[in-house]
């Protein structure tokens, strides 16, 4: 019950006009980037990092929370109305959502998505409030070996799951690790790969890396796609705005099932909400096929409700894992971790003690942000879709200006601008050739941590490597990792064999 008291204090902190304004700004911004295809909350937070530097941390973080959840509220709008999901997290929900829109039930689909995102987000936030302190307490017994195991788990899991091919995921991971090596080694004081430039002694600024990979890389990719035909036909949002009792009866179990599927995925580093949203979609589809009056294929409300709830539930518990363990489980969480570091805070068990005010204010802001977002999205989703009419070239020019400006404002170094361009080109090449970006971010953020913990563990054990697998927690983590990756490899090999078998007779 201590949690409730703390949460109450958190509400008191944020229910001031100024902080409410930050929630609103974050929610508006998050929804906007969610609606716009190609932009996501990770990019939005990365672009905001330099600008929010002069804000107080509470204001900045509640705005980031608004952006984070807003992105997940907004992403379904474009998916439902145009069949171009604003984000990969909305693909699953858009399948049935767009069919609902085609059959004249766009408004209901949008309402189902917004309410689903709301339910998933609220329920997972409640869980985080009650369990994150325990998780943090559990994490205090973690030693170097456990943290190394967590980092390795995050590395491999995210590389294996996010990308179509594990090879490309691991290649991206290695690129990120290489970037993270630049700078003076904290333990020995040796300068590594700085080329003698004093500007690089602190390593490559995380703002430079995130802005380059997520913002500039995307802008260049858009330039490369210029001239391709893009279907920007927005469907009119017709139908009732409110769900009938029958529709709610159909959607309610799907919302709850979606939440249940999404919650555990926040703690497992598989790169965010793509996997749980598709799992939720698959579950609803299978359950729907048992019913005689199943609307799957013609716009089933459950097919929207499940994935949308799962997506936001994952985002909620991902924040819990980030706060309590310091473990980023998605690209967005990695960027948020960078934000914490910028304010001199290290998420993890100690954060609940050292910055308890901030943590509880942040958790309280989840609930406020969720309510604000529901109000912004439920009735106004069709209005948000109008954002898609903003000419692309002006939008991306603005992003470029903002990206370059933000990078320069944080450091006032021209070298950082050169680096951001180089990393932007890297981000473009990765997008172009199908390498996922998330492993790079996770590697850059957790790479130094993994190295430090490894060397610390080895120093304590005087060079005995068995210390790395000496505790039950590490053994379980490595075991789960090996089993998971093996299972995934077998499943993919099977899918490939089935695909070739299916293609064989046809050819």
């Amino acid at each position: 019950m201590e949690s409730l008291g703390n949460l109450g204090d958190g509400f008191l902190t944020i229910l001031t006009p100024m902080n409410m304004l930050w929630v609103l700004v974050g929610a508006l911004l998050g929804t906007a980037v969610g609606v716009l295809p190609g932009l996501g909350s990770a990019m939005a937070v990365a672009l905001l990092l330099p600008v929010t530097f002069s804000l107080d941390p509470v204001g900045a973080f509640i705005m980031f929370a608004g952006v984070l959840f807003g992105g997940l509220f907004g992403d379904s709008t474009a998916g439902i109305l145009m069949n171009t999901p604003g984000n990969s997290t909305a693909i699953a929900g858009s399948i049935e959502g767009h069919r609902m829109a085609k059959s004249g039930r766009a408004a209901q689909a949008l309402a189902t998505a917004a309410i689903g995102a709301f339910i998933g987000g609220i329920l997972s936030s409640v869980l985080v409030v009650f369990f994150a302190p325990y998780l943090a307490e559990l994490a205090t017994i973690f030693g170097p070996a456990e943290y190394l195991a967590l980092a390795v788990f995050a590395f491999v899991a995210i590389s294996a799951v996010v990308s179509e091919s594990i090879l490309r995921g691991l290649a991206a991971l290695v690129i990120g690790l290489a970037i993270s090596l630049v700078g003076v080694d904290g333990m020995s004081g040796a300068a590594r790969f700085t080329g003698g430039l004093p500007e690089l002694f602190d390593g490559i600024n995380i703002v430079v890396i995130t802005v380059g990979l997520l913002a500039l890389g995307e802008v260049i990719a858009v330039a490369a796609r210029r001239g391709t035909k893009e279907d920007l036909q927005v469907m009119p949002s017709t139908g009732r705005l409110w769900l009938s009792r029958k529709e709610i009866r159909l959607a309610m179990p799907a919302w709850l099932r979606g939440t249940a599927i999404g919650v555990p995925f926040g703690i497992i580093p598989v790169g965010g909400s793509e996997v749980p949203t598709f799992l939720a979609y698959g579950t609803e589809r299978r359950l729907g096929s048992r019913r005689k009056d199943s609307l799957f294929g013609r716009g089933a409300i459950q097919g929207v409700a499940g994935p949308e709830a799962a997506g936001n539930a994952t985002a909620g518990t991902a924040m819990g894992a980030l706060l309590a363990l310091g473990l980023p489980t998605s690209a967005t969480a990695a960027v948020l971790l960078a934000a914490f570091r910028q304010y001199g805070l290290q998420p993890g068990p100690l954060l609940f003690e050292r910055a308890s005010d901030l943590v509880w204010a942040l958790l309280a802001s989840f609930f406020v942000a969720m309510v604000v977002l529901l109000v912004l999205n439920l009735p106004f989703a069709p209005l948000w879709a109008k954002l898609l009419k903003v000419p692309r070239h002006y939008l991306y020019s603005g992003i470029t200006v903002f990206a370059m400006l933000g990078v320069y404002a944080t450091s006032s170094k021209i070298l950082d601008l050169v680096l951001v361009l180089a990393i932007g080109l890297l981000g473009f090449a990765m997008r172009r050739y199908g390498l996922p970006v998330a492993p790079v971010l996770i590697a850059v953020i957790l790479g130094p941590l993994a190295e430090t913990e490894f060397r610390r563990a080895m120093a304590v054990s005087e060079g005995d490597p068995t210390v790395l697998v000496s505790s039950p927690i590490t053994i379980v983590l490595y075991l789960v990792l090996v089993l998971g990756v093996t299972g995934l490899l077998i499943q993919r090999a099977r899918a490939r064999r089935r695909a070739t078998a299916a293609a064989g007779p046809a050819a």
Binding site: P85, G86, V174, S188, H393, V401
Partner: protein
């Protein structure tokens, strides 16, 4: 660099579907840089084992291994010669594969005429723009607009060079205008006013609102 020297006969067509080799090449270079850097590193004398050289060695080796594996993968499974449908909104997420729906067999001569002008008319004015512009020299123009990328990257390079001498207001205006232009805007005069507005608003917001300073450049006295 491999592609720039390729003649527009067989190898050009062969490589143009395998521009993805740039990624393993990059990995390989990274691996070599890490290796050289590790060997030449100044390590303080009193370092406890494992020292600062272990991780760079492991990661450098990883770079080389994945460069080889990825290189083999790219060579064995090239991109389809043409993609049927343009990449939709999903392509921006980075996870969507390039959907190779029903690649029609393009006559070889066709592919050559498509690549040859790009090989000759590729002046590469800027070393920074190099890897971006050459890797787009594929005949599947649907998804790679070399000129847009070159224009965009060139604009950013110019911005970086001009920021401190010219100041934010002018170079920021140039950046917005140039990016909008390379992304396909067709209203240069209107864009000029828009860019100036955006740049001024940013300057105002930053110096008045957030108290961060931007380089004034040649307009130092005016503000």
């Amino acid at each position: 660099m491999t592609r720039a020297s390729a003649p527009d006969t067989g190898p050009a067509a062969y490589l143009s579907r395998r521009t993805g080799l740039i990624v393993p090449l990059l990995l390989l270079v990274t691996g070599v840089v890490l290796g050289v850097g590790t060997l030449t590193m100044d390590v303080p004398a009193n370092v406890t084992s494992p020292g600062p050289q272990l991780f760079p060695t492991v990661i450098g080796a990883g770079c080389v291994v994945f460069a080889v594996l990825l290189g083999v993968d790219v060579l064995r499974r090239p991109e389809p010669e043409q993609i049927a449908a343009p990449a939709d909104g999903l392509a921006g997420t980075g996870t969507a594969p390039f959907t190779a729906a029903a690649a029609p067999a393009v006559p070889v001569g066709d592919a050559e005429t498509a690549t040859s002008p790009s090989a000759t008319a590729n002046p590469d004015p800027d070393p920074d723009a190099d890897d971006a512009s050459t890797e787009d020299a594929t005949e599947t123009r649907v998804r790679s607009n070399r000129w847009a990328v070159t224009g965009l990257v060139g604009t950013i390079v110019a911005f970086i060079a001009l920021l401190e001498p010219l100041g934010w207001l002018l170079s920021g205006t140039m950046l917005f205008w140039g990016v909008a232009r390379s992304l396909g805007s067709r209203r240069p005069v209107f864009d000029l006013f828009l860019s100036l507005t955006v740049s001024s608003l940013v300057q105002l917001a930053f110096s008045a609102g957030l108290g961060l300073s931007l380089p004034p450049g040649v307009l130092a006295g005016v503000f």
